[in-house]
Amino acid sequence: MSTIRASVHGAPASAGPMPKAAHTGAISVRHLNFYYGSHQVLFDNTLEIPGRSVTAIIGPSGCGKSTHIRVYNRIYEMYRGQRCTGEIFLDGENILGSSVDLIELRRRIGMIFQAPAPFPMSVFDNVAYGLRLHYQLPRSELVDRVEDALKGAALWDEVEAKLHHPGTALSGGQQQRLCIARALAVEPEVLLMDEPTSAVDPVGTAKIEELVQRLKERLTVVIVTHNMQQAARISDRTAFFFEGRIVETGETTALFTNPSKKQTEAYITGRFG
């Protein structure tokens, strides 16, 4: 029955042909179309994202990068009139199916937004929010997991003394790492990042980039970025979007040094966008 196989392109041997058993966070997008009302903005997107890797999504403003990744966790469903067709497989399961448990899906696929949005509560409660949502943990374990998540997001040293201060009192870069810690706490398999460093200073950006490098050991990262150097620095694979279509995908080094499409070349050499 299962003719669907998760992508294993360039992935470590862990995936194999029986993707359902192995939770590596491999994603396979098939023929995805997306509509804002009657206005179609994504056209027949097909994309293989290997598990435990970093995939960069690049392309000019308005080409549909955000729209594309907002389908993965079905966050777009919050808004009336937004709909899509096609299939997206996460470890072999079609997450666009009607029987999918959205709450569990969103535990498995975390999302980081362009502007950090800490909840109006303490640093600790921010990170504990997802844990309290999905698990019933004894206090001591909750404390441990919050600490782990903050360490995982390279924020622990900076906030250890102010766990009970409001999350909104942190700096912009710290807030973004707080949001990353919040997402990591529930142990997702995939982390979607929509221009996570565009509102962060260079030092904060470097910290987040380092973090992404470490994260790919345990989860799949899909990162939208306008910064070509950033894509080249941190991603294994890159997908180039143009006017709602995926023009080219491939190994990042190959795509940047030897793009096969004219549009890709024009974009990465800065001729438009």
Partner: protein
């Protein structure tokens, strides 16, 4: 000079209105605004000073603790009316605030952008404009006539009817100010919609929500017309809200219209008490908002 707007004569036109004319217009506007402000503040100060001066002479310990004295007799107070107003206002708050908040949540979260949501929004605005005496008549026809007597409950319902749209409006407006990004962040963690609303949006908008509730309470606690047909009034202590219930505003109305000097003095005292109450609530809301900002 009938040149179409935006042609080459523009520069000339700008020059002509500049300097003296613009300065003159500016000064006139400033002066007009200043006079308007003075009139407004002046009238307010006048009203307040009269209420304070004439009301203060009525205040005493027994004014807060005793039942009204018969005409001409010394002493007595409006303790029953104060207690009744507190009870009726509390009942109205209990009924009107949850209904208003839920309507506001519908407007801001579930109904936003839908046809029915637009209709509810329109109805809320219409309800806000309904004269308070109509609210009283409505509850009178609905409840007082069918039950057969006036009651504090009917009064509370009439006031709740007035509170609900105010609370719904402020709730919807305050929740609309919460950025969608916050909702998305919580949803993206796997939170169901109701949790996002209760734990994140309410919390982010809490100062605004509380302000809306307090302003609604302040607005209805000074209402007389809706109580005339519902709670009516009573010379006794309120035992429950099941019968006619003493309250400050209808007492002011009755006492001020009476020919007895001691009752008229009591009406001034009651006016001062209500004014102070509303003033306190307004200051409280300002304080809450100031602390959040």
């Amino acid at each position: 000079m009938a040149l179409p707007a935006g042609t080459k004569d523009r520069g000339w036109a700008v020059k002509c209105t500049s300097r003296t004319r613009r300065k003159l217009i500016d000064r006139t506007m400033k002066a007009a605004a200043g006079v308007a402000v003075l009139i407004g503040i002046g009238v307010l100060a006048w009203v307040l000073s009269v209420v304070f001066v004439r009301g203060a002479s009525a205040l005493s310990w027994s004014f807060f603790t005793k039942l009204p004295a018969p005409p001409g007799a010394p002493g007595g107070g409006l303790g029953n009316a104060m207690l009744g107003t507190l009870l009726i206002s509390a009942g109205a708050t209990l009924l009107g605030v949850p209904a208003g908040i839920m309507a506001g949540v519908y407007l801001a979260e579930y109904g936003a952008g839908t046809r029915f949501g637009g209709f509810v929004n329109f109805m809320v605005n219409v309800m806000m404009g309904i004269p308070s005496i109509i609210a009283g008549l409505f509850i009178y026809a609905l409840l007082v006539v069918s039950v057969g007597h006036f009651s504090g409950y009917a009064g509370a319902m009439a006031l709740a009817f007035l509170m609900m749209p105010v609370v719904a409006r402020t709730t919807a407006d305050m929740m609309a100010l919460v950025p969608d990004q916050l909702r998305e962040s919580a949803l993206a963690l796997g939170a169901p919609r109701w949790r996002v609303i209760v734990q994140i949006v309410f919390r982010a908008a809490r100062a605004g929500l509380l302000t809306g509730v307090l302003l609604a309470v302040a607005r209805v606690s000074g209402e007389t017309a809706p109580l005339l047909f519902t709670a009516l009034n009573s010379p006794y202590w309120p035992r429950s809200l099941a019968g006619p219930t003493a309250n400050l505003t209808v007492t002011i109305f009755n006492d001020a219209m009476s020919p007895y000097a001691n009752w008229q003095r009591a009406a001034w005292g009651a006016s001062l008490v209500i004014t102070l109450g509303v003033l306190t609530i307004s200051l409280l809301t300002r304080f809450i908002l100031r602390r959040r900002a």
